[in-house]
Symmetry: D2
Subunit: 480 residues, 4 copies
């Protein structure tokens, strides 16, 4: 079949899936006044694949079928594949106004991890998950399906293990095993873009002990599978005025609380069933690919922060001030450090037993940690350069009202040669980006999405071989 | 007359003032669906003055009249006065959910500065501004008027002086001098709470040269003075759901672009008219009092950040994690450093030639700078502890919908013993505080209100006498 | 007897104490080429007490005897006592070129803590430690003795408790109980100024369990007590050229490894003997007073950093550069934040059951932590302003050699009006302060002395009552 | 001739060069008690070129002669050349205990820059500098000469240009032009390793104006040229005990004040003579190559910081503490960020008009700035983990003295299985590395060598094309 186009994709979402938004069951997510924005945003993925300027980057010819497919589905076999994937994610996100599309990125991260883990499971347990996974991967690729990943369990008391919780459902678990499949119960938090995908891939969220056997479960199901419900968070909803919200009025991501109410999963869609020893490995392998994805999609947002700071410094007449130049220099450095490090993580990739490569985990996590811990300071630099009018300026309605427009035009100009309207638009852009519901939503996601800061520190510490440095010291300290 | 009550205050605002909001002329700011929230918020000032628990703190007996008056009007004559003022501002802000009331605080900062400057002007120029100011101060106090201060000119190209701009109106200036007063034109940006006060006090925003003589102007006028218009910024408007926005649904501050369209100011309300040599001194003297006010009202917000982090750490079951305790320790330190420093600024106050005291400018600016430059990091700590559900959680409508409430209640619990609703309310509290339009608005104000970071650094550098330290070094470095 | 003078003090150290330095037993610490420097440095304490300009600050009239005594011995009974103590420590340190004298400061911190703990021990255990301590305190005061405190055990494997170690001697412990006293064995690390004091006070270093009973021991002995040996660390030894080392050539502190080789302690000098439940309380109570002392003596060093940066900025001709002014502003802020916070810790002191006051532990630890974590950055600022010649400049011998002096004088000048020699002296001052053995020694002590950073964070976290902030959040989040 | 060996190199330095050290003319720098250490350190360069394990990396076959030459002399023609050069510098520095050898590195940075600038000068001015330079380069390469670069003028008042200074000699300048060459006067500061090289290359230090024409001068001369004198700074001199100073007792770099006392330079060694328009370009081109070198040699030092922290954490028994792991993670990240970024700077190199490549200037400067601004914090982390005994431990003489060794051995052990001596050696290693004269010297060089922090910020700001980011913002902000 090949590549879906955006229209086909949107049609494919009209399938009786159970989506709630603000207390109501949503009949059609593609036409809903608010949720439709997210649907159209996500479908940019399909538009780009058809645009001549981007097709080369966004697609590839699959050797086994000779078909042109979305490049996301290509397993990474060398550093170049990872570099191209990074560029594809960066480019697609940039074309989507800095907000990741995420209807292929995260799903393929999961497919990559499953490829590796299914192989390990099969080797260790004599199962045949790899065959199932290969078939599923081919189906996704050939049908050009979109996918969401539900990984983070709701967790209850985070200091307790799944079986120690007040009730057994804080982590998704198997409640019944049948000949033809299993029945699962539980809920996953913040499943990004779940309303807009064909498939939901479910992965365990943490390492498990033997007593947690029922929680070791991984599978994939269509988004309209009976028993699955999506309760969509409204907190990235802003206004639909592109003057006030030039970014978020047209680009949104929506997360759901995803409920599995005794949902049936057939065997052929099941990739882990009780093999608790491998749950942590699967969770980590996924997250390592996904952190690479994450850093890849951050750079366009940072490009916009830098560009906005630079333009507003000019419009406000402060471009020559020493502290302004210093802050812009810091924004440049931040962007390019993030971009350079993640490229280096690709270049120093490791090959594994199934012939795939994974980005260097130490560098990937260093990059993600560096990105996330410096972000708020960069927001402060941008807000500082932008000025107070970003949050105390006039409304679109005042700008359109002839009674007030004259005053606003006269008084809110900046440097000569730049229209007041351009300056107001730029204020609104900065506010939408970094001083708003949308900005706050992004701040929180920068910290929490793809695993928190502590997880990144731990990964760096555990994966870095310090022997070389220790031996160097012993040598020069004359310690035998 | 004494102390107004809240109802009297609100009535006093129904006076034909020209206020625009989202493209419409607002008939009555106290009953307007959105602006009314700000009106009620500000009027808490009057409520507290009547509450027995706070009256002692919020009021004093004016010796000249024997009347109980709002304590804001008391000129600071000793460190104790400043410490009490700090406590009053902190307490009032805390009672108002962390958002400063600002209908007396900033106005009296301006009155203090004018007391000093009118004295200096009279001494140097033989004018009688002090007499006018004393009468105006008494009127404000005895009528218990509320006041806004319009200081920041719209500025146009910030690298240019007033007379170098593309048009002469980027700074408020005198366009006509009459026997009984002057006519002014121009606009001031972000005048906080202008729609809710009786009086607008106008001050120059910067030091001026001789060629800027017409821009050296300070005065006070009633808010309904003909020729003055307020265009109100909508960017602190959130929803009116106290579930989603427990803070901002009931507590708002509104800023205006304040237009002076050839407005007449009578002589008795005029406190500077062309004395350009004193414009910088007035601007600075005001801002030094005002930064003390600013830091005084920040602490309740920081108390809420700390309390929210601490509660959510508990509710999420992560209170014992080392990194969580570290972040909470950082929030404690931040709060108490800010509070301790500003107290010390009061204790080390300087007495001036009119017998008033001013907080130590070096310590005040150090505190403000420290507060503002650390704030975003503290937001990051709170967001980190709070977790991603802060921005991906369910809506109030989902919580109220019986179809979804059961799932949410079952799955979104945290530690045992805390209701799911409490946890959701806390998520919403954190989002409203620090990951939202309201949070972004506050971030920008923390950087820009009361003068930017560069101004604070400059004040520290200029006001600190480094001779003592230089001499100490010379002594021990054996430099003659 | 009253106040010793410096000469008497130095004589009192010639008492057969067992001091090793660089492999040799030191016959007389006061005349030793290197150790004598430390002896003279410490004796500044006695000089100041006799100087008219400082006597009022450094001494007080003891009511019980009518004698003028060193003020260090005065128990703090109110905030003013703490503020005066802070000023005394700051002043004495400043007069000693920024290096604390520490032959009364730390000893009286220990006496304060023992006053409180002996009372608690007596109340709980029916002992009579308080009587012993009062007599000892009076003897110290009336003889004007100097004192060192040996607290930090050598600790072996820090992850193990005393009784779990490879041998029992990693913490000082009782090896024999006799009718008239006890015999102790063990070693304490980095006992500051032990070679220069009359008395060594020994305190436990940590909380203990019941199995650690023998490690719960506190006492005081003369420095020449048989069985006690001091192995002195040489790492603050620099050259004795005051040109190269204007500070450290004349001001040094020396630490010892203090060995207790089955040393006898008579009962009247014993203040804790096996009461393991109180060991942690004693350790902490001491350290809280001592951290207050610590921060009090840091400010003169910071004054010198600021003064040196400011002078060199001028001498180098870069005083007007924006980044230089910013760095100087940061040095000003750092100094004044530290000073303000520790004053506030005194003002917010807590009174305990014996009528003494202790500085607020939260603020004291916040200050110490802030000081210690910002210090290295401030060193970087100073080094940045100072320039590379600080470590690549010529030697004193080159400066004195007529063959090279002319070149150096001609080429190493800075701005006009400042002699080359003054500039070279300033380079040397900065290197000695912050880019040398002496600077490195101070960096490490800033981190480790008076308890490490983690201990400070823990103290802040444990002592801060977060209930107030939690309740505030519950109130406004509408959580019952 | 090919490759010199170390012995030949050392012999070549016995050439009557005029070197002063501590007030005395040094007869032979290779046998001088202190300076000899630096000579032997630098000669490691020649040793490595002969060691089979390193020869491949350290040398190459020069096509024009078929001879094996030091690889430093190879002009970089592609990214791979830069990556190899980075690895060579890193490796050589690592083998030399973390201290750069710098007798080829900086000299070839200068040759690279001169290649480019001579071409530009010849194109613009019709000169024949390129031919001279090619001959000089070939001579250096074929004789395997070592080279120092004297760039930083002594500068006097840094706010003034060369001709504005109190005397004309604060910058090196031409005092006479002859048919066969020129005569120069002036002095350069901190010429690294000048006593140990065959050749001194002199470059201008800044952009110049037309009035500074005489200061636009670049040349190379043998180190024993009459009129040139080196006054060597003693501040990296520590003890020669490898117990106390395991690094600096055997590895030192010495800087000189280099005096040009009316020194004659023959035409064939002259590469710029008055072409003031190109002085800034030459200074910058050199410094860009040199910053790449600089970052390349930093990593082994950081490896040692990390290794020492990791070993001491283990030896002290604190390896499992959360804060210790966090600090080690930060040291890992720091090292690998620096290494990754500089590799990326090589990969994104730019090709210039003479077919050479230069590392990306934005990334190179970002790396250098990041390295230099984070370094002091990393020192603090290491000192924190290492513990106070680093500066309060015993001397070598105490360790060797049988009277004290037993105590030290018994009491200064750490975890079981590690000898006390190993722990003491590690303490000494850390002190030598980061809390000593040697550590302070390195801190200052990290900030100042290869141009200060402000220069790096400026280079980033000026070289980064922000158009792309600005256009992206305009596109999404709907600004035409």
């Amino acid at each position: 079949m090949g590549i879906q186009n955006a229209k086909q994709h949107l049609s494919s979402l009209q399938d009786e899936r159970v989506v709630y938004y603000r207390g109501e069951r949503v009949k059609d997510v593609t036409t809903h006044a608010v949720l439709g924005i997210g649907a159209r945003h996500a479908s940019i993925d399909f538009e780009l694949a058809e645009e001549p300027a981007f097709q080369e980057l966004m697609t590839y010819i699959e050797p086994s079928t000779g078909e042109r497919c979305s490049r996301y589905f290509k397993l990474p076999e060398c550093a170049e594949d990872l570099l191209t994937r990074r560029e594809m994610i960066e480019t697609a996100t940039r074309e989507a106004a800095g907000l990741v599309l995420l209807i292929k990125e995260i799903g393929t991260d999961a497919l990559y991890a499953l490829h590796i883990l299914c192989h390990r499971l099969d080797s260790a347990c004599g199962t045949d998950y790899s065959k199932r996974l290969a078939a599923y991967h081919a189906a996704c690729r050939d049908n050009d399906w979109s996918m969401a990943v539900a990984q983070s369990d709701v967790k209850g008391d985070r200091s307790l293990r799944p079986t120690q919780q007040a009730h057994p459902d804080y982590y998704v678990h198997i409640v019944e095993e049948r000949a033809d499949g299993i029945v699962v119960r539980g809920a996953k938090a913040h499943t990004s873009h779940a309303p807009y995908v064909n498939e939901i891939i479910v992965l365990p969220t943490r390492a498990l002990g033997e007593e947690d056997r029922d929680y070791a479960v991984a599978f994939a199901v269509p988004a309209n599978t009976p028993g699955m419900r999506f309760i969509t968070s409204p907190f990235s909803e802003g206004s639909q005025s592109t003057f006030h919200h030039p970014l978020s009025a047209e680009h949104k991501m929506f997360e759901t609380i995803t409920i599995f109410d005794d949902m049936f999963v057939p065997n052929e869609r099941l990739f882990m069933k009780g093999e608790w020893q491998f749950a942590g490995d699967l969770a980590n392998t996924f997250v390592e690919y996904h952190r690479f994805t994450a850093v890849s999609y951050k750079t366009p947002w940072l490009e916009m922060m830098l560009g906005a700071a630079d333009l507003l410094a000019e419009y406000n007449g402060v471009a020559r001030a020493g502290h302004v130049r210093e802050k812009i220099t810091m924004l440049v450095s931040y962007l390019e450090i993030v971009r350079s490090l993640i490229k280096q993580a690709a270049l120093e990739c490791k090959r594994n037993e199934v012939g795939m490569v994974a980005p260097d985990p130490v560098l990937t996590n260093i990059t993600k940690y560096y990105f996330a811990t410096q972000y708020h300071q960069m927001v402060a630099y941008l807000q500082d350069i932008a000025g107070g009018l970003v949050v105390t300026g006039p409304s679109e309605e005042d700008w359109l009202n002839p009674e007030t427009r004259g005053d606003l035009d006269h008084y809110l100009g900046g440097i000569a040669g730049i229209s007041t309207e351009a300056r107001l638009r730029l204020f609104n852009f900065v506010r939408d980006l970094c001083a708003s519901d949308y900005g706050g939503y992004n701040e929180v996601l920068n910290i929490h999405a793809e695993g928190g800061l502590e997880a990144q520190k731990l990964t760096i510490f555990r994966n870095y071989d310090r022997t070389f440095c220790r031996d160097l010291v012993k040598r020069f300290a004359n310690i035998e």
